[in-house]
């Protein structure tokens, strides 16, 4: 296979990290910012699952296949499952914080939401 195509997974992971951070840096709305964080997280999904992939390997479920079949790495899958939980918990918490913050400050602009300043 061509060399540059094999770099694609890592390039996509790096791109997601970069574009997600770009979104965070330029965000004018905290809800949008939280969405961008999930893009940053997408980078970790892509990286981990690509690391655990094996060309021609089956999914690590030996229900219909004998256990000797070449399969991909289940450990990375378990890691990404944990990562999905991390993402969900952090997103829920941030949304709750932002919701309460909006009630008190009446804005969602991160520039206006600085701590330690009067209303």
């Amino acid at each position: 296979m061509t060399g540059w195509l094999d770099v694609l997974p890592w390039a996509v992971a790096a791109w997601l990290l970069g574009i997600g951070l770009y979104g965070v840096v330029t965000s004018r709305n905290v809800v949008h910012l939280i969405g961008c964080l999930s893009v940053v997280q997408g980078a970790t999904y892509v990286l981990l699952l690509s690391v655990g992939f094996r060309t021609g390997g089956i999914a690590p479920v030996f229900y219909a296949k004998p256990p000797s079949t070449s399969a991909v790495d289940p450990v990375t899958h378990a890691m990404v499952l944990t990562d999905v939980v991390v993402g969900a918990t952090v997103t829920a918490l941030l949304l709750a914080l932002v919701l309460q913050l909006h009630k008190r400050r009446g804005t969602l602009d991160p520039e206006e939401l600085r701590p330690m300043r009067p209303k």
């Binding site: 296979m1 195509l5 094999d6 694609l8 997974p9 996509v12 791109w15 997601l16 574009i19 997600g20 770009y22 979104g23 004018r28 709305n29 809800v31 949008h32 939280i34 969405g35 961008c36 999930s38 893009v39 997408g42 999904y45 892509v46 699952l49 690509s50 655990g52 992939f53 060309t55 390997g57 089956i58 999914a59 690590p60 479920v61 399969a71 991909v72 990375t76 899958h77 990404v80 499952l81 999905v84 993402g87 969900a88 997103t91 829920a92 949304l95 932002v98 919701l99 909006h102 009630k103 008190r104 400050r105 009446g106 804005t107 969602l108 209303k119």
Partner: protein, 86 residues
């Protein structure tokens, strides 16, 4: 690297970019659902069905739902100064 895999990787990159660049939160929720779906497809192709399941349940359904609830609540909430906010 099969063409299908390459395509799905690119799809994930494209939808992820869409999420980051959708400045309107309501549109961003749709973009996030699309990104979640693209990720789930990629996970299927990478032979990770367990993760794909979780991503469909969380990334395309549960989390966008929370976003929608927050956006609805924020539209209702008129802020401390009584001025409507978007």
């Amino acid at each position: 690297m099969t063409p299908l895999l390459a395509l799905l990787f690119l799809l994930v990159a494209a939808t992820g970019t869409g999420v980051a660049l959708s400045r309107n939160p309501k549109r961003q929720v749709l973009a996030m659902s699309a990104n979640g779906m693209a990720l789930a497809l990629l996970f299927m192709a990478l032979q990770a069905p367990d993760v794909a399941f979780a991503e469909i349940a969380v990334g395309t359904a549960a989390i966008p739902l929370l976003f929608l609830a927050v956006l609805a609540s924020i539209r209702m909430d008129h802020g401390p100064h009584g001025t409507p906010k978007e």
